[in-house]
C-alpha cells in the first residue's frame, strides 16, 4: 500500500518536471503552426526583402531585413556599452571593493533587474531621449542609441553577477603565485585573474546579449520605430520585438501580416535559444574544469 503511494508521488513529480519540456516543445509547435502557411503563400522568399510595409493598398511587403538590421544595430551598440561597464564592474566588486561597500552596492545595482522594463522605457522616453536629442542636436531623441543605452543598463547587472562568479572561482593559488612573483595588484587582476575567468565572462556577455535582443518594451518606446535599413546610431530604427508588439494588436487573424509576425517570433526564438545553449555549454565546461 505504502509502496503505491510512493510510486504515484514519484510519477506526479516526474510529470511536473516534464512540463518544462512540454512547454518548450509547444512554443516551437504553436509558433510554427501559425507561421507555416506563409511558407506556401506568399512563400519564404517574401521575407528576404529590404522593405517592411505590411499594410498597404497597393502591395504589401514583408521584407524582414530592416527589422533584422534594426535589432542588430541596437544590440551591437548595447553590447559595446555593456562590456566595459559589466566587466569592470565585476572586477571592482570581486577584487577591489571592500566588505560593506560590496554588501550594499551589489544588491543596489541588482535592483535594476527588478525594475519593470516598461518603467525603464518610460524613463528613457521622458528623461534620456530629450538629453540625447539636445546633446547631438537631433530632431528626435527616439534613436537606436537611446534604446541601446537603456538595454545595456538592463543587461549590466546580469553581466556583472555572472562575471563576478567567474572571477571568484579562479583558484586563489593563481593570485597568490602572481603576487609572490612580484606582480602588482592590477597586473595580477588583468594578466592573471581576468584571462583565467575569460570563458565565464564571455558566457556572461552572451547571456546579456540574449536579454538585449529579446527586450521589447524599451525599444518599442524609445527607438522611434522606423523600419529602415541603417547603421546610424542617431537614426530611428524598428527592432523585431517592437514590430511584434506594435503590430500584433491590429493585425487581421490569419492574414499574411499575421503569419509574417509569427516568423519574426521564430527568428527571435532561434537566436536567443542558440545564444543560451552556447553560453550554458561554456559555463558548464568551465565549471567542470575547476
Amino acid at each position: 500500500m505504502k509502496n503505491w503511494k510512493e510510486k504515484i508521488i514519484r510519477l506526479l513529480l516526474v510529470a511536473s518536471a516534464s512540463i518544462s519540456i512540454l512547454i518548450v516543445l509547444s512554443i516551437f509547435l504553436f509558433l510554427g503552426k501559425e507561421a507555416l502557411p506563409f511558407a506556401f503563400d506568399p512563400g519564404l522568399s517574401a521575407l528576404w526583402g529590404t522593405r517592411w510595409i505590411p499594410v498597404s493598398f497597393k502591395e504589401e511587403l514583408f521584407g524582414l531585413l530592416p527589422l533584422l538590421t534594426g535589432s542588430i544595430l541596437v544590440t551591437v551598440l548595447a553590447t559595446a556599452i555593456m562590456i566595459p561597464f559589466g566587466v569592470l564592474g565585476a572586477v571592482y566588486i570581486a577584487e577591489i571593493a571592500r566588505g560593506p561597500e560590496r554588501d550594499i552596492l551589489k544588491p543596489f545595482i541588482e535592483i535594476l533587474t527588478a525594475i519593470p522594463s516598461v518603467v525603464i522605457g518610460f524613463f528613457g522616453l521622458v528623461v534620456l531621449s530629450p538629453i540625447i536629442k539636445n546633446i547631438f542636436h537631433l530632431n528626435t531623441g527616439l534613436t537606436a542609441l537611446s534604446g541601446a543605452v537603456l538595454l545595456a543598463l538592463m543587461a549590466i547587472p546580469t553581466v556583472i553577477s555572472i562575471s563576478e562568479d567567474a572571477i571568484r572561482s579562479v583558484p586563489k593559488s593563481y593570485k597568490e603565485a602572481s603576487l609572490a612573483l612580484g606582480a602588482k595588484r592590477l597586473q595580477t587582476i588583468f594578466s592573471v585573474i581576468v584571462p583565467a575567468a575569460l570563458p565565464g565572462i564571455i558566457a556572461a556577455i552572451m547571456l546579456g546579449i540574449g536579454r538585449v535582443i529579446g527586450e521589447t518594451m524599451v525599444v518599442l518606446m524609445v527607438t522611434g520605430n522606423a523600419a529602415k535599413i541603417t547603421f546610424n546610431p542617431m537614426s530611428s530604427v524598428r527592432t523585431m520585438t517592437a514590430t511584434i508588439a506594435a503590430e500584433m494588436g491590429e493585425v487581421a487573424f490569419g492574414s499574411h501580416h499575421y503569419r509574417a509576425l509569427f516568423w519574426v517570433g521564430i527568428i527571435l526564438l532561434l537566436i536567443t535559444f542558440g545564444l543560451n545553449v552556447i553560453a550554458q555549454k561554456v559555463l558548464k565546461r568551465y565549471r567542470t574544469v575547476e
Binding site: V14, S26, Y92, I115, F122, V126, A245, L269
Partner: protein
C-alpha cells in the same frame, strides 16, 4: 613610483565606471519617486480612471495586475516546486534530467514577446479562451516557472544530507523523508523564489499585451474570461498612445511609481525572508 601613480589612476577609473552605474540606478529611482509622489493619493490608488486615463485613478489596473499575478502563481508555484523536488531529490544524471534542465534554461531565455505570441497561439486561439485573464495568467505562469524551479531547487539542495540520512535510517520512506524533514527546511527558500516570480509577473508588459490587456476599461472584471487593465500596460498606453501624452505626465509618473513600489516591495520582502531564515537555520 611612476608606476604606482599609474596604477592608482587605473584603479580610480575602474571605481568611476562602477559608481557611474550606481549613480544611474539611483537617479532612475529618484526621478520616478520624486515626480510620482505628487500624484500618489488615496483617490489615485482607489479611484477609477476618467477621460481615457487623463484623470481619476488606476484602481482597475491594480486589480487587473493582482488577478493576473495571482493566477500565474497558483499555476506556476505547485508545478515549479514539484519539478524542483524531482530535480533535487529523485533525478539521476541521465538523458531525461539533462533534457529537463535544457528546457528550463531555454524557457528562462525565451524573450517575453515570444511568450506573448505563444500565449496568443495556444490559449487565445487554439483553446479559444480569447483575450482574457485566463490566457494572460497562464502565459505569465509559464514565463516565471524557471525562476521558481531554480530557486526552489537551490533551497532544497541547501538542506544537509544528514537530515535525509537520519530519517531514512529510522525507516521512513523516501517521500516521508522529503515531506517531513526536507520540505519544511526548504520552504522559506522556495517562498523567496515565489515572491521573486510574483515581482516579475507584475512588471511584465509584452506577454500580456497580446493575451489579455485592455487599452481602457474602467470597470472591474466579472470572470476569468474578461479582459482587464494592467499596471504596466496602462503606463505604456499613457506614455505612448494617449492623445495628450504630455499633459498626462503626472498620471504616467504616478503609475510608474506604484509599479516600481510594488516590485521593490516584493523583492525586498524576498530578501528579508531569505536573510531571516538563513540566520535562524544553522546546520
Amino acid at each position: 613610483m611612476e608606476n604606482q601613480i599609474k596604477d592608482r589612476i587605473i584603479l580610480w577609473l575602474i571605481r568611476l565606471f562602477f559608481y557611474f552605474i550606481v549613480a544611474i540606478v539611483g537617479y532612475i529611482i529618484f526621478d520616478i519617486v520624486y515626480n510620482g509622489l505628487s500624484t500618489l493619493s488615496w483617490e489615485f490608488i482607489t479611484g477609477f480612471p476618467r477621460r481615457s486615463g487623463a484623470e481619476g485613478g488606476i484602481f482597475p489596473a491594480i486589480v487587473g495586475t493582482a488577478y493576473l499575478v495571482f493566477g500565474a502563481i497558483i499555476v506556476a508555484l505547485p508545478l515549479g516546486m514539484a519539478s524542483a523536488i524531482y530535480l533535487s531529490e529523485y533525478a539521476r544524471t541521465g538523458r531525461f534530467t539533462s533534457l529537463v534542465r535544457l528546457a528550463i534554461t531555454t524557457l528562462a531565455g525565451v524573450p517575453s514577446i515570444v511568450f506573448g505570441l505563444f500565449g496568443l497561439g495556444l490559449f487565445v486561439i487554439f483553446f479559444g479562451f480569447g483575450a482574457s485573464i485566463l490566457s494572460g495568467s497562464l502565459t505569465l505562469s509559464f514565463m516565471i516557472l524557471p525562476t521558481i524551479i531554480v530557486s526552489s531547487e537551490e533551497s532544497l539542495r541547501a538542506v544537509p544530507m544528514s537530515l535525509r540520512e537520519g530519517s531514512l535510517a529510522l525507516g521512513a520512506s523516501k517521500w516521508q523523508t522529503i515531506y517531513k524533514n526536507v520540505l519544511p527546511n526548504a520552504l522559506p527558500g522556495m517562498l523567496t523564489g515565489a515572491i521573486l516570480g510574483i515581482g516579475r509577473a507584475a512588471g511584465e508588459t509584452a506577454p500580456i499585451l497580446l493575451t489579455v490587456a485592455a487599452f481602457y476599461l474602467p470597470r472591474l472584471p466579472g470572470s476569468i474570461f474578461d479582459q482587464v487593465m494592467a499596471l504596466p500596460y496602462h503606463l505604456y498606453v499613457l506614455a505612448t498612445q494617449h492623445p495628450e501624452a504630455e499633459k498626462v505626465l503626472p498620471m504616467q509618473y504616478g503609475t510608474a511609481l506604484v509599479l516600481l513600489l510594488l516590485v521593490i516591495i516584493f523583492n525586498l520582502g524576498a530578501i528579508i525572508l531569505r536573510n531571516h531564515f538563513r540566520k535562524k537555520i544553522q546546520w
